[in-house]
Amino acid sequence: MIELTNLTKRFGKKVAVDDVTLTIRPGVITGFVGPNGAGKSTTIRMILGLDRPTSGEVRIDGRPFAGCDAPLRTVGALVDSKGAQAGRSAYNHLRVLARTNGIPQSRVDEVIEIVGLTEVANQRVGSFSMGMGQRVGIAAALLGDPQTVILDEPANGLDPEGILWIRNLMKALAREGRTVFVSSHLMSEMALTADHLVIIGRGKLMVDMPMSQFIDEKAQKSVLVRSPRAGEVAELILSAGGAITRRDDGALEVTGLTAPAIGDLAGASGLHLHELSPRGSSLEDVFMAMTQDAVEFHAQSDLDAIEAHHLPRARHEGTPS
């Protein structure tokens, strides 16, 4: 269990993490998603005590990590790249780490086998590919058989087989009752992996809910409508309670109404439709839209009158301000 309370980190004037309060529970995989620069790594570094919070606090299993007397048993972490010196072998790197916490040498052999590096354990880490480097970092994270596992972008550099492997590994760790906290900048990857979703944008907590709930609520269906008399069709749709996004090519993207309902509306008024196609918006699109808003409200200037009235309501939902 990781508890963040009003966690804030400023670098000069820039607010990297802005008043985040969050509880990360054991037994499930919590996906931590945000675009690059959103504050994911800073948050993870504060959890590990590597960055000192400007204000607020972090507790792991009820205690601040800085005073922890059994750190590797409490938290295993993969932070940034491989986190090992190039000149040392993977085996010796893990031996060094094990020794700081009095973890038996036999466990070093175990984790090397778990991550599949047995064959190359005596080679210098500097000679490893990025994917092998990630496996060294994951082996280090597992070393103390920790209650909490934190992985920052673990899929980086892994091939598809490696990504599947790390996904299954995390699921196994969560099943055993551990707290698993994993960051990614890819929503689609997290949708396949995480049970619980946390989204951060521009340092602010934007979403903290079960992944299934997020998919139900946010990955809404839309209908693409084209008509030579789009303006009139748009008025009909709005009066019937739909919301509209106008695309650059003049098509209307409608949410809140089904395709048959839109077709009936247009038909009843004698308006021709050239296209009426239902589509599901991907999680990646939803995520991009949400976090773009958090970064800056740049889309506003491009919106026409219809959108200006109806978009903010739809798109800013769930955005704390």
């Binding site: 590990l48 986190g83 780490l97 970092g137």
Partner: protein
């Protein structure tokens, strides 16, 4: 894969009940770190070779120079030709060893920053300071043992080469034993200063440049810039001059700062100089510890 994870971790609560961090364990880990990087092993070996090798070479050169005049003649009457202190000949390699060990000190910490290892290390030891203490202790013990052996080997070897070709020094001569131990202590101290600078600056190049600028360049520049009265008040307290007060057999002769500057400074007494040098080393380590505790890793 996932099956083997489950197999190895399902009884995790009881798995490593003794797995706790302690100062001694961190010391053991840092000792292992030092031994498992080829570069540090080579660097340490190089420092030893340099101390002994240069002593032998310098003694050979000096012996060769004076051989034509002194060979076969009695020892009396030859003294004016020999202006070089035989202990200084024995310590000919220590200034190069200082560069090597100082760089090693810097790299022992800055190497963790440049590779990202520091975040792994500090996640395993979130108290942070035990890592600095462990690195300092490991460097002190290793450099002290190796340099004691090298410095005394250099002394006996060079005196054996000088023997019969001019004056030699013995451990019982005034100031000689103190100067030899002084050289060992100075080399250990510079290694620690390197560690402190590596931790403060987090950069290998920056740490090494700062260390040698502080030891070798700044004294010369100050000698040029400062008026004599100020120079004599400040310069004996710089780490390099403080070191010379206990590494030279006869520090009362004073010291010049760098070739070409010509400024000669009255050195402190060996005891005071040693105290000043210790203050420098401890001060830098204390500053490094303070910032290591406070800063983001």
């Amino acid at each position: 894969m996932s099956a083997s994870v489950a197999a190895t971790t399902h009884d995790r609560v009881a798995r490593f009940p003794d797995a706790k961090v302690s100062q001694w364990r961190v010391i053991g880990a840092e000792w292992l770190k030092l031994r498992t990087l080829r570069s540090t092993v080579i660097t340490l070996a190089a420092a030893c070779v340099v101390v002994v090798g240069f002593a032998a070479m310098a003694a050979g050169v000096v012996s060769g120079d004076i051989t034509p005049e002194t060979n076969g003649a009695g020892p009396a009457g030859q003294m004016p030709l020999m202006t070089v202190d035989p202990t200084s000949i024995a310590m000919a390699g220590t200034s190069l060893a200082m560069l090597i060990l100082g760089s090693l000190g810097v790299l022992f910490m800055s190497g963790e920053h440049s590779s990202g290892m520091i975040r792994t290390t500090m996640s395993a030891v979130p108290q942070r300071l035990p890592v600095l203490w462990a690195k300092a202790l490991v460097l002190v013990v290793v450099s002290a043992v190796l340099m004691t052996a090298s410095v005394f080997a250099a002394f006996f070897l060079s005196q054996a080469i000088l023997e019969g070709n001019g004056p030699t020094a013995a451990l019982s001569d005034p100031g000689v034993t103190r100067a030899l131990w002084g050289n060992v202590a100075y080399l250990v101290g510079v290694t620690l200063m390197g560690l402190a600078l590596g931790s403060l600056l987090r950069s290998s190049a920056g740490g090494i440049a700062t260390l040698f600028a502080g030891l070798l360049v700044v004294p010369g520049l100050l000698g040029l810039v400062l008026p004599d009265s100020w120079g004599n008040a400040i310069m004996p307290y710089l780490p390099d001059a403080a070191g010379q007060s206990f590494t030279l057999v006869d520090p009362s002769a004073g010291s010049g700062f760098g070739p070409g500057f010509g400024a000669s400074v009255d050195l402190l007494t060996p005891g005071t100089g040693a105290l000043v040098f210790v203050v420098w080393v401890v001060g830098l380590i204390a500053l490094a510890a303070t910032l290591l505790h406070r800063r983001d890793v």
